[in-house]
């Protein structure tokens, strides 16, 4: 594959998409700049803050440390793909209800992480949830309310 890029195709929020990328293009930048899905945020760009968290084939990963070309054929879900019709995803609704954010910059990553957490073997205690959310930093310090939102959604799923 040469300097002029190559095509990559994947399923983005349920829709097949294709775009031309360079080998050095990351999934994060491709989503934001080539596919106009700017909901996924760029924080540290080095895998330290979690703002860029998306789901790939149902698992939460960091889109800033993943090349777009590595995702041929994958199913990718971003914050834009959570709601169905006019209905918010229960985790989005819980973040609103619990006031689980201030500036909002980390919120899409927090929500994607929290959505994935609900399908992982995470223990029932708050301590387990805190540890399982430790890959998502919040400079505003909304942690207590984020924990509350995750707790609420998990309780409703039981």
């Amino acid at each position: 594959m040469g300097d002029f890029g190559c095509d990559v195709s994947f399923i983005l929020n349920g829709e097949p998409v294709s775009c031309r990328v360079e080998p050095r293009d990351f999934l994060l930048d491709t989503l934001r700049e080539k596919l106009d899905r700017t909901g996924t945020k760029k924080g540290c760009d080095h895998g330290q803050c979690g703002a860029c968290t998306v789901l790939v084939n149902g698992r939460r990963v960091l889109s800033c440390l993943s090349l777009a070309l590595m995702h041929e054929g994958d199913e990718i879900t971003t914050i834009e793909g959570l709601e169905s019709g006019d209905e918010l995803h229960p985790m989005q609704a819980a973040f609103l209800a619990c006031d689980a954010y201030q500036c909002g910059a980390c919120t899409p990553g927090q929500i994607m992480s929290a959505v994935a957490l609900c399908d992982e073997p995470v223990g029932p205690d708050d301590e387990c949830v805190r540890e399982a959310m430790s890959g998502n930093l919040c400079r505003c310090g909304a942690y207590a309310h984020i924990l509350q939102a995750v707790r609420q959604v998990r309780a409703n799923r039981k």
Binding site: E22, T53, R60, V61, S66, L69, V122, C128, E131
Partner: protein, 334 residues
Amino acid sequence: MRSFAFSRAIDFASLPERAALSGKSNYVAGGTTLLDLVKLNVMQPGEVIDISRLPLSEMSERADGGLRIGALVRNSTLAWDRRVRVRYPVLAEALLSGASPQIRNMATTGGNILQRTRCPYFRDNISPCNKREPRSGCAALDGYNRSHAVLGGSDACVATHPSDLCGALAALEADVIVRTQSGERRIAFDDFHLLPGSTPHRENVLEPGELIVAVELPPPHAGARSWYLKTRDRESYEFALASAAVILRVENGVIKFVRIALGGVGTKPWRCRAAEALLEGTIPSPEIFKSAARAIFATARPLAHNAFKIPLAERVLVHVLTLLLKDQPAVRHL
């Protein structure tokens, strides 16, 4: 960011040959080390070969009761595997002590073994660093070296090996299975990583193009307990200051079997054979635990800011031995 060529590995058989021929190529699987370091311009591959679609994501039972772990098994998959949690608690706990859930979903077994040091002078791409640029010097020796190694360092490099998983694999006496240009070879875990010596840019025994395809664990030692404990500057999502992986079997009040490896203190995952020999056959006591721990650091070379790691690691090890003497701790639920 510097560009590179990209290809997807589809032909498993010819892969090592092709990778070796290209000279400046790197495999990518999870990407959490390589792509971070490419962004920092610390690593400058001419070609990145995506191996993530190769059929190396399986785990299988070995005939002898051990476990074969494919090189592409993700850290979280491995930590959540019931066989691992029940038979190798030290391994599950080490995995869950490392990184963040997102990174554990990406990071692979093979990649974890190959992860690069977190030495800030290696990562800053400006300071002298013999690991990044051979014969340029070492900024850590006279710099801020609080996070650096007290064991295994040289005048060329004192960078710490950062892996949690590797401590457990060293204690478990795992083998690394490598695909070469002519077949496969098996490397005992303790022989895989190299001490820095005068060539800190050579971190392991892999030859150009060689590919880790699996890690094999021997069967769990019958009747033994095992655990991993990690101390760090914050509770989560941080590298070890000192950690200990321990496997222990006590029978009729006597230590019959013990394996110890330390993390956060050495330039490679630090297997402690002398301490093991000192402990085996003795009646466990706080005194014997302490003297075994002290023996590990008899040859330690503390730097200006990291001498605290010696008593810290000694206490971590004594604590794990003491815990295991009482009970098998439960692997965390994450």
